[in-house]
Protein backbone atom coordinates (compact mmCIF):
# COMPACT_ATOMS: atom_id res chain seq x y z
CA UNK A 1 0.00 0.00 0.00
CA UNK A 2 2.81 2.31 0.99
CA UNK A 3 4.70 1.50 -2.22
CA UNK A 4 1.60 2.20 -4.30
CA UNK A 5 1.26 5.61 -2.66
CA UNK A 6 4.92 6.36 -3.26
CA UNK A 7 4.53 5.49 -6.98
CA UNK A 8 1.52 7.81 -7.34
CA UNK A 9 3.33 10.63 -5.57
CA UNK A 10 6.46 10.08 -7.70
CA UNK A 11 4.45 10.25 -10.94
CA UNK A 12 2.67 13.38 -9.76
CA UNK A 13 5.97 14.99 -8.73
CA UNK A 14 7.57 14.10 -12.09
CA UNK A 15 4.71 15.70 -14.05
CA UNK A 16 5.11 18.88 -12.03
CA UNK A 17 8.85 18.95 -12.66
CA UNK A 18 8.28 18.47 -16.41
CA UNK A 19 5.72 21.26 -16.42
CA UNK A 20 8.04 23.64 -14.62
CA UNK A 21 11.18 22.89 -16.60
CA UNK A 22 9.45 23.09 -20.01
CA UNK A 23 7.99 26.47 -19.08
CA UNK A 24 11.52 27.84 -18.71
CA UNK A 25 12.62 27.10 -22.25
CA UNK A 26 11.64 29.25 -25.25
CA UNK A 27 8.84 27.00 -26.54
CA UNK A 28 7.51 25.75 -23.25
CA UNK A 29 4.38 23.86 -22.41
CA UNK A 30 2.95 26.98 -20.78
CA UNK A 31 3.27 28.77 -24.09
CA UNK A 32 0.13 26.85 -25.08
CA UNK A 33 -1.74 29.04 -22.67
CA UNK A 34 -0.04 32.15 -24.00
CA UNK A 35 -0.77 31.43 -27.63
CA UNK A 36 -4.30 30.14 -27.44
CA UNK A 37 -5.81 33.59 -27.18
CA UNK A 38 -9.11 33.17 -28.94
CA UNK A 39 -8.32 36.08 -31.23
CA UNK A 40 -9.97 35.75 -34.64
CA UNK A 41 -6.89 36.71 -36.64
CA UNK A 42 -3.29 37.19 -35.75
CA UNK A 43 -0.21 38.18 -37.74
CA UNK A 44 2.60 35.75 -37.19
CA UNK A 45 6.12 36.10 -38.54
CA UNK A 46 7.17 32.93 -40.24
CA UNK A 47 10.81 32.00 -40.55
CA UNK A 48 11.32 29.38 -43.20
CA UNK A 49 14.39 27.23 -42.79
CA UNK A 50 15.62 25.66 -46.00
CA UNK A 51 19.23 25.21 -45.10
CA UNK A 52 21.36 24.16 -42.22
CA UNK A 53 21.40 25.96 -38.88
CA UNK A 54 18.73 28.17 -37.35
CA UNK A 55 16.96 30.84 -39.34
CA UNK A 56 17.68 34.42 -38.24
CA UNK A 57 14.94 36.54 -36.68
CA UNK A 58 14.30 40.25 -37.16
CA UNK A 59 13.81 41.31 -33.58
CA UNK A 60 13.42 45.08 -33.82
CA UNK A 61 12.53 47.69 -36.42
CA UNK A 62 13.18 51.31 -35.48
CA UNK A 63 10.08 53.29 -34.57
CA UNK A 64 8.74 55.37 -37.42
CA UNK A 65 7.11 58.75 -37.01
CA UNK A 66 5.05 60.36 -39.79
CA UNK A 67 7.24 61.09 -42.78
CA UNK A 68 6.94 64.28 -44.80
CA UNK A 69 8.52 64.04 -48.25
CA UNK A 70 10.50 66.93 -49.67
CA UNK A 71 8.78 69.26 -52.04
CA UNK A 72 9.23 68.21 -55.69
CA UNK A 73 11.37 67.75 -57.63
CA UNK A 74 13.69 66.91 -54.71
CA UNK A 75 13.82 63.28 -53.62
CA UNK A 76 13.57 62.25 -49.97
CA UNK A 77 15.72 59.73 -48.15
CA UNK A 78 13.96 57.60 -45.58
CA UNK A 79 16.21 55.79 -43.07
CA UNK A 80 14.97 52.59 -41.44
CA UNK A 81 17.03 50.62 -38.91
CA UNK A 82 16.47 47.04 -37.82
CA UNK A 83 18.14 44.44 -35.62
CA UNK A 84 18.61 40.78 -36.52
CA UNK A 85 19.22 37.87 -34.15
CA UNK A 86 21.00 34.79 -35.48
CA UNK A 87 21.54 32.12 -32.86
CA UNK A 88 24.39 30.79 -35.00
CA UNK A 89 26.20 34.10 -34.52
CA UNK A 90 26.00 37.44 -36.33
CA UNK A 91 28.86 36.34 -38.58
CA UNK A 92 26.46 33.76 -40.04
CA UNK A 93 24.28 36.49 -41.55
CA UNK A 94 24.55 37.15 -45.26
CA UNK A 95 25.26 40.87 -45.08
CA UNK A 96 24.45 41.58 -48.72
CA UNK A 97 21.04 39.91 -48.54
CA UNK A 98 19.41 42.51 -46.25
CA UNK A 99 16.70 44.31 -48.17
CA UNK A 100 13.62 46.42 -47.65
CA UNK A 101 10.48 47.20 -49.63
CA UNK A 102 7.90 49.86 -48.80
CA UNK A 103 4.51 49.08 -50.24
CA UNK A 104 1.09 50.62 -50.49
CA UNK A 105 -1.76 49.37 -52.63
CA UNK A 106 -1.89 51.26 -55.91
CA UNK A 107 1.57 52.76 -55.48
CA UNK A 108 4.96 51.92 -56.94
CA UNK A 109 7.06 49.91 -54.51
CA UNK A 110 10.00 51.80 -53.04
CA UNK A 111 12.93 49.85 -51.73
CA UNK A 112 16.59 49.15 -51.28
CA UNK A 113 18.17 45.79 -51.97
CA UNK A 114 21.49 46.63 -50.37
CA UNK A 115 20.93 47.68 -46.78
CA UNK A 116 24.13 48.29 -44.84
CA UNK A 117 25.22 46.50 -41.67
CA UNK A 118 26.06 49.19 -39.11
CA UNK A 119 27.47 46.99 -36.38
CA UNK A 120 27.24 43.53 -34.85
CA UNK A 121 27.86 41.86 -31.50
CA UNK A 122 27.40 38.27 -30.44
CA UNK A 123 24.28 36.97 -32.12
CA UNK A 124 22.93 40.41 -33.06
CA UNK A 125 23.51 42.80 -35.94
CA UNK A 126 22.08 46.26 -36.73
CA UNK A 127 21.20 47.29 -40.26
CA UNK A 128 20.30 50.60 -41.87
CA UNK A 129 18.29 50.90 -45.05
CA UNK A 130 17.99 54.14 -47.01
CA UNK A 131 14.96 54.31 -49.26
CA UNK A 132 14.34 57.01 -51.82
CA UNK A 133 10.82 58.41 -51.76
CA UNK A 134 9.31 60.96 -54.13
CA UNK A 135 7.02 63.92 -53.62
CA UNK A 136 4.17 62.20 -55.50
CA UNK A 137 4.23 59.06 -53.33
CA UNK A 138 0.76 58.82 -51.85
CA UNK A 139 -0.04 59.91 -48.34
CA UNK A 140 -1.28 57.29 -45.90
CA UNK A 141 -0.21 53.97 -44.49
CA UNK A 142 2.79 52.17 -46.03
CA UNK A 143 3.93 48.65 -45.05
CA UNK A 144 7.60 47.98 -44.30
CA UNK A 145 8.76 44.63 -45.67
CA UNK A 146 12.22 43.64 -44.42
CA UNK A 147 14.10 40.45 -45.19
CA UNK A 148 17.55 38.97 -44.66
CA UNK A 149 19.14 35.53 -45.17
CA UNK A 150 21.91 33.75 -43.35
CA UNK A 151 24.82 32.02 -45.09
CA UNK A 152 22.71 28.84 -45.33
CA UNK A 153 19.98 30.81 -47.15
CA UNK A 154 17.61 30.61 -44.19
CA UNK A 155 15.21 33.53 -44.53
CA UNK A 156 13.98 36.00 -41.93
CA UNK A 157 11.14 38.31 -42.90
CA UNK A 158 9.22 40.99 -41.05
CA UNK A 159 6.13 42.73 -42.43
CA UNK A 160 4.51 43.85 -39.21
CA UNK A 161 5.69 47.48 -39.21
CA UNK A 162 4.04 50.42 -40.92
CA UNK A 163 4.49 54.16 -41.21
CA UNK A 164 2.53 57.11 -42.58
CA UNK A 165 3.46 59.57 -45.28
CA UNK A 166 1.81 62.88 -44.50
CA UNK A 167 -0.45 64.68 -46.92
CA UNK A 168 1.34 67.68 -48.45
CA UNK A 169 -0.40 70.38 -50.42
CA UNK A 170 2.26 71.98 -52.56
CA UNK A 171 2.68 73.75 -55.85
CA UNK A 172 5.01 76.04 -57.69
CA UNK A 173 4.11 78.65 -60.25
CA UNK A 174 6.23 80.22 -62.93
CA UNK A 175 6.81 82.80 -64.10
CA UNK A 176 5.96 84.72 -60.96
CA UNK A 177 6.03 87.99 -62.90
CA UNK A 178 4.10 88.62 -66.10
CA UNK A 179 5.12 91.17 -68.69
CA UNK A 180 3.09 92.92 -71.35
CA UNK A 181 4.23 94.71 -74.45
CA UNK A 182 3.07 98.34 -74.71
CA UNK A 183 -0.73 98.50 -74.41
CA UNK A 184 -2.71 101.30 -76.02
CA UNK A 185 -5.57 102.97 -74.18
CA UNK A 186 -8.81 101.28 -75.25
CA UNK A 187 -7.07 98.08 -76.37
CA UNK A 188 -8.94 94.77 -75.97
CA UNK A 189 -7.93 91.14 -75.42
CA UNK A 190 -4.27 91.63 -74.62
CA UNK A 191 -2.28 88.59 -73.51
CA UNK A 192 1.06 88.69 -71.68
CA UNK A 193 4.15 87.98 -73.71
CA UNK A 194 5.62 85.51 -71.20
CA UNK A 195 2.48 83.57 -70.28
CA UNK A 196 0.89 81.25 -69.43
CA UNK A 197 1.48 80.77 -65.73
CA UNK A 198 2.47 77.14 -65.28
CA UNK A 199 1.43 75.40 -62.06
CA UNK A 200 3.30 72.25 -60.97
CA UNK A 201 2.01 69.96 -58.24
CA UNK A 202 5.05 69.50 -56.01
CA UNK A 203 3.16 67.61 -53.31
CA UNK A 204 1.11 64.42 -52.93
CA UNK A 205 -2.35 65.92 -52.71
CA UNK A 206 -4.53 66.25 -55.79
CA UNK A 207 -5.97 69.72 -56.25
CA UNK A 208 -9.53 69.23 -57.43
CA UNK A 209 -11.49 71.37 -59.85
CA UNK A 210 -12.74 74.38 -57.91
CA UNK A 211 -9.75 74.39 -55.55
CA UNK A 212 -7.52 76.78 -57.49
CA UNK A 213 -8.41 80.42 -57.08
CA UNK A 214 -6.90 83.83 -57.67
CA UNK A 215 -6.93 86.95 -55.53
CA UNK A 216 -6.49 89.85 -57.96
CA UNK A 217 -5.62 93.49 -57.35
CA UNK A 218 -5.76 96.53 -59.60
CA UNK A 219 -2.60 97.38 -61.49
CA UNK A 220 -2.36 101.05 -60.55
CA UNK A 221 -0.46 103.72 -62.41
CA UNK A 222 2.89 104.41 -60.83
CA UNK A 223 2.70 108.15 -61.62
CA UNK A 224 -1.04 108.68 -61.39
CA UNK A 225 -2.48 105.98 -59.14
CA UNK A 226 -6.05 107.14 -59.88
CA UNK A 227 -5.71 105.32 -63.18
CA UNK A 228 -5.41 101.56 -63.30
CA UNK A 229 -5.71 98.41 -65.29
CA UNK A 230 -8.69 97.17 -63.32
CA UNK A 231 -8.52 93.59 -62.17
CA UNK A 232 -12.15 93.11 -63.18
CA UNK A 233 -11.01 93.51 -66.79
CA UNK A 234 -8.67 90.52 -66.49
CA UNK A 235 -9.84 87.02 -67.29
CA UNK A 236 -8.22 83.70 -66.36
CA UNK A 237 -8.72 80.40 -68.09
CA UNK A 238 -7.00 77.09 -68.76
CA UNK A 239 -7.18 77.66 -72.53
CA UNK A 240 -4.90 79.84 -74.55
CA UNK A 241 -5.41 82.69 -77.03
CA UNK A 242 -8.67 84.60 -77.18
CA UNK A 243 -10.41 81.77 -75.30
CA UNK A 244 -8.43 82.91 -72.30
CA UNK A 245 -10.27 86.20 -72.61
CA UNK A 246 -13.60 84.49 -71.97
CA UNK A 247 -12.64 82.83 -68.71
CA UNK A 248 -13.22 83.80 -65.10
CA UNK A 249 -13.21 87.58 -64.56
CA UNK A 250 -11.08 88.48 -61.58
CA UNK A 251 -12.89 91.09 -59.56
CA UNK A 252 -10.91 93.05 -57.00
CA UNK A 253 -13.25 92.33 -54.10
CA UNK A 254 -10.56 91.11 -51.75
CA UNK A 255 -11.96 87.62 -52.23
CA UNK A 256 -10.56 84.73 -54.20
CA UNK A 257 -11.99 84.03 -57.66
CA UNK A 258 -12.20 80.31 -58.46
CA UNK A 259 -10.81 79.41 -61.86
CA UNK A 260 -13.11 76.43 -62.02
CA UNK A 261 -11.71 74.26 -64.81
CA UNK A 262 -8.23 74.37 -63.29
CA UNK A 263 -6.95 71.37 -61.33
CA UNK A 264 -3.69 69.68 -60.44
CA UNK A 265 -3.29 65.93 -60.48
CA UNK A 266 -0.67 64.07 -58.43
CA UNK A 267 2.29 62.96 -60.48
CA UNK A 268 5.78 63.49 -61.75
CA UNK A 269 5.39 66.93 -63.28
CA UNK A 270 8.92 66.80 -64.67
CA UNK A 271 7.41 64.81 -67.54
CA UNK A 272 6.44 68.37 -68.56
CA UNK A 273 3.50 67.37 -70.75
CA UNK A 274 1.17 70.03 -69.30
CA UNK A 275 -1.04 67.22 -67.98
CA UNK A 276 0.71 65.09 -65.32
CA UNK A 277 0.84 67.20 -62.19
CA UNK A 278 0.55 70.37 -64.24
CA UNK A 279 -1.95 73.09 -65.10
CA UNK A 280 -1.65 76.22 -67.21
CA UNK A 281 -3.36 79.48 -66.36
CA UNK A 282 -3.81 81.90 -69.25
CA UNK A 283 -4.48 85.52 -68.35
CA UNK A 284 -6.00 88.09 -70.65
CA UNK A 285 -6.56 91.82 -70.24
CA UNK A 286 -9.94 92.07 -71.93
CA UNK A 287 -10.05 95.86 -71.88
CA UNK A 288 -7.61 98.69 -71.15
CA UNK A 289 -9.60 101.80 -70.29
CA UNK A 290 -9.59 104.58 -72.89
CA UNK A 291 -8.85 107.03 -70.06
CA UNK A 292 -5.41 105.54 -69.38
CA UNK A 293 -2.36 107.75 -69.75
CA UNK A 294 1.17 106.78 -70.75
CA UNK A 295 2.81 105.47 -67.57
CA UNK A 296 3.88 102.22 -65.95
CA UNK A 297 1.11 100.14 -64.33
CA UNK A 298 2.02 97.54 -61.74
CA UNK A 299 1.05 95.61 -58.63
CA UNK A 300 3.58 97.53 -56.52
CA UNK A 301 0.90 99.71 -54.95
CA UNK A 302 -2.03 97.31 -54.42
CA UNK A 303 0.08 94.19 -53.87
CA UNK A 304 0.89 91.01 -55.77
CA UNK A 305 -1.81 88.72 -57.05
CA UNK A 306 -2.13 85.48 -55.13
CA UNK A 307 -2.78 82.07 -56.62
CA UNK A 308 -4.11 79.72 -53.96
CA UNK A 309 -4.85 76.02 -53.74
CA UNK A 310 -7.08 74.53 -51.10
Amino acid sequence: MKNKRMVIYSIFFSIIIILLTTSLISAGFLDWFKKITGEATQNVNVNISIGAGTAPVIVNVSGMADFTTNQGPAKSELHINFTVLDSDGAANLNITSAMINLTKIGEATRGNSSCAQRNSWGNFANYTCNVTMWWFDASGNWTINISIRDLSSNLARNITNEFNITSATAFELSPATLTYAAISAGATNQTPNNGPILLNNTGNKAIAVGSIDVNATNLKGETNSALALWSGNFSANVSSGTTSCAGKFLNDTGLYNIVSPANLSIGNYTANNNVTGQEQLFLCLTFAGSELSQQAYSTSSAGAWTIRTT
Partner: protein, 195 residues
Protein backbone atom coordinates in the same frame (compact mmCIF):
# COMPACT_ATOMS: atom_id res chain seq x y z
CA UNK B 1 31.47 123.84 -77.34
CA UNK B 2 30.03 121.35 -79.78
CA UNK B 3 32.56 118.74 -78.65
CA UNK B 4 31.64 119.33 -75.01
CA UNK B 5 27.97 118.85 -75.89
CA UNK B 6 28.90 115.65 -77.73
CA UNK B 7 30.76 114.37 -74.65
CA UNK B 8 27.78 115.15 -72.44
CA UNK B 9 25.46 113.36 -74.87
CA UNK B 10 27.79 110.36 -74.99
CA UNK B 11 27.86 110.20 -71.18
CA UNK B 12 24.07 110.50 -71.07
CA UNK B 13 23.76 107.68 -73.63
CA UNK B 14 26.11 105.49 -71.59
CA UNK B 15 24.09 106.16 -68.44
CA UNK B 16 20.87 105.35 -70.31
CA UNK B 17 22.32 102.14 -71.72
CA UNK B 18 23.51 101.16 -68.24
CA UNK B 19 20.03 101.87 -66.86
CA UNK B 20 18.39 99.86 -69.65
CA UNK B 21 20.74 96.93 -68.97
CA UNK B 22 20.02 97.08 -65.22
CA UNK B 23 16.25 97.27 -65.80
CA UNK B 24 16.43 94.40 -68.32
CA UNK B 25 18.37 92.28 -65.85
CA UNK B 26 15.84 93.02 -63.14
CA UNK B 27 12.98 92.09 -65.49
CA UNK B 28 14.74 88.84 -66.41
CA UNK B 29 15.36 88.09 -62.72
CA UNK B 30 11.74 88.68 -61.79
CA UNK B 31 10.45 86.85 -64.87
CA UNK B 32 12.50 83.75 -64.05
CA UNK B 33 11.50 83.75 -60.40
CA UNK B 34 9.47 80.73 -59.36
CA UNK B 35 7.04 80.92 -56.51
CA UNK B 36 6.90 77.54 -54.78
CA UNK B 37 5.34 76.54 -51.51
CA UNK B 38 4.43 73.39 -49.59
CA UNK B 39 2.34 72.70 -46.50
CA UNK B 40 1.99 69.26 -44.92
CA UNK B 41 -0.01 68.34 -41.86
CA UNK B 42 1.02 65.89 -39.15
CA UNK B 43 -0.12 63.57 -37.67
CA UNK B 44 -1.49 61.98 -40.80
CA UNK B 45 -5.26 62.34 -40.92
CA UNK B 46 -7.04 59.79 -43.11
CA UNK B 47 -9.59 61.64 -45.26
CA UNK B 48 -8.40 64.84 -43.59
CA UNK B 49 -10.47 64.03 -40.54
CA UNK B 50 -9.57 63.62 -36.91
CA UNK B 51 -11.80 62.13 -34.22
CA UNK B 52 -11.70 63.58 -30.73
CA UNK B 53 -13.86 63.36 -27.64
CA UNK B 54 -15.41 66.27 -25.73
CA UNK B 55 -12.77 67.90 -23.54
CA UNK B 56 -9.86 66.45 -25.57
CA UNK B 57 -6.81 68.55 -26.42
CA UNK B 58 -4.67 67.55 -29.38
CA UNK B 59 -1.45 69.12 -30.65
CA UNK B 60 -0.88 69.10 -34.39
CA UNK B 61 1.79 70.49 -36.69
CA UNK B 62 1.98 71.99 -40.15
CA UNK B 63 5.27 71.55 -41.97
CA UNK B 64 6.29 74.37 -44.35
CA UNK B 65 8.80 74.07 -47.18
CA UNK B 66 9.91 76.38 -49.95
CA UNK B 67 12.58 76.31 -52.65
CA UNK B 68 13.64 79.90 -52.06
CA UNK B 69 13.85 81.85 -48.81
CA UNK B 70 10.38 83.19 -48.13
CA UNK B 71 8.28 84.58 -45.31
CA UNK B 72 4.94 82.82 -44.89
CA UNK B 73 2.05 84.13 -42.89
CA UNK B 74 -0.25 81.68 -41.13
CA UNK B 75 -3.87 82.67 -40.47
CA UNK B 76 -6.74 80.65 -39.07
CA UNK B 77 -9.56 81.36 -41.53
CA UNK B 78 -12.14 79.02 -40.04
CA UNK B 79 -12.57 77.10 -36.80
CA UNK B 80 -10.80 79.53 -34.48
CA UNK B 81 -13.25 78.58 -31.69
CA UNK B 82 -11.50 75.21 -31.31
CA UNK B 83 -8.17 75.65 -33.07
CA UNK B 84 -5.31 78.01 -32.21
CA UNK B 85 -1.82 78.44 -33.59
CA UNK B 86 0.39 78.20 -30.52
CA UNK B 87 3.65 79.76 -31.71
CA UNK B 88 4.33 83.31 -30.64
CA UNK B 89 4.73 84.46 -34.24
CA UNK B 90 2.44 84.44 -37.24
CA UNK B 91 5.14 84.94 -39.90
CA UNK B 92 7.56 82.07 -40.47
CA UNK B 93 10.86 82.28 -42.31
CA UNK B 94 11.22 79.26 -44.58
CA UNK B 95 14.67 78.60 -46.02
CA UNK B 96 15.41 76.11 -48.82
CA UNK B 97 15.90 72.55 -47.59
CA UNK B 98 14.22 73.23 -44.26
CA UNK B 99 11.01 71.78 -42.89
CA UNK B 100 9.61 74.52 -40.68
CA UNK B 101 7.01 73.44 -38.11
CA UNK B 102 3.95 75.53 -37.31
CA UNK B 103 2.35 74.34 -34.09
CA UNK B 104 -1.34 74.30 -33.39
CA UNK B 105 -3.73 73.01 -30.75
CA UNK B 106 -7.23 71.61 -31.04
CA UNK B 107 -9.38 72.03 -27.94
CA UNK B 108 -12.74 70.32 -28.00
CA UNK B 109 -15.20 71.92 -25.59
CA UNK B 110 -16.36 69.61 -22.82
CA UNK B 111 -19.94 70.40 -23.80
CA UNK B 112 -19.46 69.48 -27.47
CA UNK B 113 -22.15 67.18 -28.85
CA UNK B 114 -21.20 63.71 -30.06
CA UNK B 115 -21.26 63.63 -33.85
CA UNK B 116 -20.66 67.37 -34.11
CA UNK B 117 -18.30 68.28 -36.95
CA UNK B 118 -15.96 71.26 -36.82
CA UNK B 119 -14.11 72.54 -39.88
CA UNK B 120 -10.69 74.11 -39.47
CA UNK B 121 -9.11 76.07 -42.29
CA UNK B 122 -5.65 77.57 -41.96
CA UNK B 123 -4.19 79.68 -44.76
CA UNK B 124 -0.47 80.01 -45.39
CA UNK B 125 0.45 82.86 -47.68
CA UNK B 126 3.85 83.82 -49.01
CA UNK B 127 4.72 87.48 -48.57
CA UNK B 128 5.91 88.60 -52.00
CA UNK B 129 7.13 92.16 -52.38
CA UNK B 130 5.85 93.59 -55.64
CA UNK B 131 8.48 95.77 -57.30
CA UNK B 132 7.76 98.92 -59.32
CA UNK B 133 6.95 98.15 -62.92
CA UNK B 134 6.14 94.49 -62.25
CA UNK B 135 3.01 92.38 -62.35
CA UNK B 136 3.79 89.90 -59.60
CA UNK B 137 2.25 86.68 -58.33
CA UNK B 138 2.55 85.04 -54.93
CA UNK B 139 1.16 81.75 -53.70
CA UNK B 140 -1.07 80.65 -50.87
CA UNK B 141 -2.19 77.27 -49.58
CA UNK B 142 -5.31 76.62 -47.59
CA UNK B 143 -5.13 73.60 -45.27
CA UNK B 144 -8.53 72.35 -44.28
CA UNK B 145 -9.49 69.44 -42.05
CA UNK B 146 -12.52 68.25 -40.15
CA UNK B 147 -12.81 67.36 -36.50
CA UNK B 148 -15.51 64.87 -35.59
CA UNK B 149 -16.59 64.70 -31.97
CA UNK B 150 -16.79 61.08 -30.81
CA UNK B 151 -17.15 59.20 -27.55
CA UNK B 152 -14.07 58.97 -25.34
CA UNK B 153 -11.92 55.99 -26.29
CA UNK B 154 -11.00 53.90 -23.26
CA UNK B 155 -7.28 53.63 -22.59
CA UNK B 156 -6.02 50.19 -23.42
CA UNK B 157 -2.89 48.60 -22.06
CA UNK B 158 -0.31 47.02 -24.32
CA UNK B 159 -1.98 43.65 -23.82
CA UNK B 160 -5.30 42.67 -25.29
CA UNK B 161 -7.85 41.43 -22.70
CA UNK B 162 -7.42 37.88 -23.97
CA UNK B 163 -3.65 37.92 -23.69
CA UNK B 164 -3.96 39.48 -20.25
CA UNK B 165 -6.18 36.58 -19.22
CA UNK B 166 -3.75 34.00 -20.60
CA UNK B 167 -0.87 35.66 -18.75
CA UNK B 168 -2.77 35.64 -15.46
CA UNK B 169 -3.65 31.96 -16.04
CA UNK B 170 0.03 31.16 -16.37
CA UNK B 171 0.81 32.92 -13.10
CA UNK B 172 -2.05 31.12 -11.34
CA UNK B 173 -0.77 27.77 -12.57
CA UNK B 174 2.75 28.55 -11.42
CA UNK B 175 1.50 29.49 -7.94
CA UNK B 176 -0.62 26.33 -7.63
CA UNK B 177 2.26 24.15 -8.77
CA UNK B 178 4.57 25.90 -6.32
CA UNK B 179 2.19 25.23 -3.42
CA UNK B 180 1.80 21.57 -4.38
CA UNK B 181 5.59 21.06 -4.56
CA UNK B 182 6.00 22.74 -1.20
CA UNK B 183 3.30 20.49 0.29
CA UNK B 184 4.98 17.37 -1.11
CA UNK B 185 8.37 18.38 0.25
CA UNK B 186 6.88 19.08 3.69
CA UNK B 187 4.98 15.76 3.58
CA UNK B 188 8.14 13.83 2.62
CA UNK B 189 10.15 15.49 5.40
CA UNK B 190 7.44 14.76 7.97
CA UNK B 191 7.21 11.15 6.76
CA UNK B 192 10.95 10.59 7.10
CA UNK B 193 10.89 12.08 10.61
CA UNK B 194 8.01 9.82 11.64
CA UNK B 195 10.09 6.77 10.51
Amino acid sequence: MIERQKKINTLKMRKLRFLVIIISLLVIMFASYISAFSVAITPYMPNEEIRLAPGNVKEIKFILQNKDPVDAKATVIEGSEIFQLTDEKEIYRVNPGEQVPVNGRITIPAAAQLGQIYTVNVEFKTAIASQEGSFTFGSAIGQQFKIIVVEEQKETSGLSPISAISTSTTWLLAIIIGIIILAIIVWLILKRKSK
